[in-house]
């Protein structure tokens, strides 16, 4: 690894580390009262405690499962709806308006209804996550299908490409960059919305830990969950980026950045 590459790798982490150091110094000097914000050291201690108790991994695992399954269901529905409305003007006319209206509803407003419909079990949490991640996938899929170069479709038609082959060769690959942008948004949101979903009768999960810590004023644990959210969000983004790189090898990296 050359020095330039090393600098590029390290540069994004400079700001978080400087912030962390300043935070620790401010806590130690008493500038930052401990009852307002625990020091990074205390947060780290809370992390070690939670890991040694063995429940942190369980909470994270449960949350990841909820985010993952919700993502599969929601993104699947969003993809299907986006393809349908993207390919058919009639369906767009019928489906787009109600979907846009539904999108405007905050997930947290739905919680009482969702409890009524699905009870306090996993179904309610999955519903919240799926519904939230569905919209970015839907919107970006629709947009992606509609922005496929009509000249390419016309060219393919002159070579007698039609039906399923047209989707496979032209429409889906053409819409894929946009679909992946939607998935990237959705992946981030699937973790975020857990704070809402895991208020519903949860006894495990990151959202549950955060809520519990708030109830009992465990500031160190609360801040720990915030930090975990930040790290998980970054991880989700890295994951999405590597998926993109694998699925869009034909797209130069600079172009991909510009498209975001």
């Amino acid at each position: 690894m050359t020095a330039a590459m090393l600098r590029r790798r390290l540069a994004p982490w400079i700001a978080p580390f400087v912030l962390l150091a300043a935070w620790e110094l401010a806590s130690r000097s008493g500038l930052l009262p401990k009852n307002l914000l625990p020091s990074p050291y205390e947060v780290a201690q809370a992390f070690v405690r939670a890991v040694s108790r063995g429940d942190l991994l369980v909470h994270l695992g449960v949350s990841a499962l909820r985010a993952g399954v919700g993502m599969l269901v929601g993104a699947g529905i969003g993809l299907a709806l986006g393809l349908l409305t993207g390919l058919s003007r009639k369906l767009q006319l019928v489906l787009d308006t109600p979907l846009q209206m539904l999108r405007a509803v905050p997930a947290i407003a739905l919680v009482p209804l969702v409890i009524l419909w699905f009870g306090l079990g996993e179904a309610a949490k999955l519903f919240i996550v799926s519904m939230t991640v569905m919209f970015p996938v839907y919107l970006n899929t629709f947009h992606g299908v509609r922005s496929v170069d009509p000249q390419l479709i016309e060219m393919a038609r002159t070579y007698h490409v039609s039906g399923f082959a047209m989707y496979r060769e032209v429409i889906l690959p053409g819409a894929l960059p946009s679909i992946l942008v939607g998935l990237r948004f959705a992946l981030g949101m699937s973790w975020l919305v857990l704070i809402v979903a895991e208020t519903i009768g949860a006894e495990q999960g990151l959202g549950y830990v955060a809520m519990n810590a708030r109830e009992f004023m465990q500031m160190d644990t609360l801040v720990l969950t915030i930090v975990l959210w930040a790290i998980l969000g970054k991880l989700a983004d890295v994951l999405a980026g590597s998926v993109e790189q694998r699925l869009l090898p034909w797209q130069p990296r600079s172009q991909r950045m510009a498209a975001e």
Binding site: T158, E169, P173, W250, Q251
Partner: protein, 266 residues
């Protein structure tokens, strides 16, 4: 090996959005012939090609093609997400890789088979588009200003490439262009389309490959240009019968002459 297919139009009319683009035109492309059609933008030449390619429907008249035509557009229109090799095989259920490599080497790009189109230059992309056309063993190749977007030097080599492959493979070719010299260099016949009708047809009997900027090519090109600009001076009026009979002299032996010579009015 592929041979040329015949193409014939009789009294073909096309209206798009209520506007008459092509007015009862007749055309015959004999097997293996290279026909150039020139005209100003808006003359209907691109519409004609799109109708022949099956991308637009004609409103009246008859259209007969001996074999499914293959189109080369002004833009290469390659799929960016497929390799050069996959692009060449587009539309074939089981593309023969050896044939694909053969057509790629015919356009001089066999070594780029695995690359994505995004890594090629404009001229190379257009050559891949040509290879894709050749992959289908075309009997009738429709060329819609395929050299228009290339720089001057690349254009010359691309024209030579197309001419060389045409004489080697024997397909029929129909070139639509606004470049009169290009039309004369490549065509067995040069037809001038104006306001949806053919107003001139020049047979070019010069031996191939023709010499760019030579006096003979220049003389024919000048005649074609004159026809285009004369029609411009008359505005949107249909050609006068005198002009029609004058044009008729050029082609008295041919059966592909425009219907205005038969005295029709729009």
């Amino acid at each position: 090996m592929s041979t040329g297919a015949e193409l014939s139009l009789s009294e073909l009319s096309v209206a798009l959005g209520g506007r008459e683009i092509l007015r009862s035109i007749d055309l015959l492309v004999k097997p293996g012939e290279f026909i150039s059609i020139v005209g100003r933008s808006g003359s209907g030449k691109s519409t004609l090609l799109r109708v022949l390619a099956g991308l637009e429907a004609h409103t009246h008249g008859e259209l007969k093609v001996g074999a499914p035509p293959i189109v080369m557009f002004q833009e290469p229109r390659l799929l960016p997400w497929r390799s050069v090799l996959q692009n060449v095989g587009l539309g074939l259920r089981e593309p023969d890789p050896r044939h694909a490599l053969r057509v790629l080497s015919q356009v001089g790009l066999a070594d780029r088979a695995q690359d994505y189109p995004g890594t090629l230059s404009g001229g190379q992309r257009q050559r891949v588009a040509l290879a894709r056309a050749l992959m289908h063993r075309p009997q009738l190749l429709l060329l819609d200003e395929p050299f228009g977007a290339l720089d001057a030097l690349t254009r010359i080599s691309a024209q030579k490439l197309v001419e060389g492959l045409w004489s080697e493979l024997g397909f029929s070719a129909l070139l639509v262009t606004h470049d009169v010299e290009e039309a004369v260099l490549l065509g067995d016949h040069v037809l001038v389309l104006d306001e949806g009708r053919f107003i001139l047809r020049e047979e070019v009997t010069l031996p191939r490959p023709r010499v760019r900027n030579s006096a003979e090519v220049g003389r024919i090109a000048a005649r074609v240009l004159n026809a285009i600009f004369d029609s411009g001076r008359e505005g949107s009026e249909p050609p006068a019968p005198a002009a029609a009979s004058g044009a008729d002299e050029h082609t008295s032996t041919s059966n592909i002459w425009p219907s205005f010579a038969r005295g029709e009015t729009p």
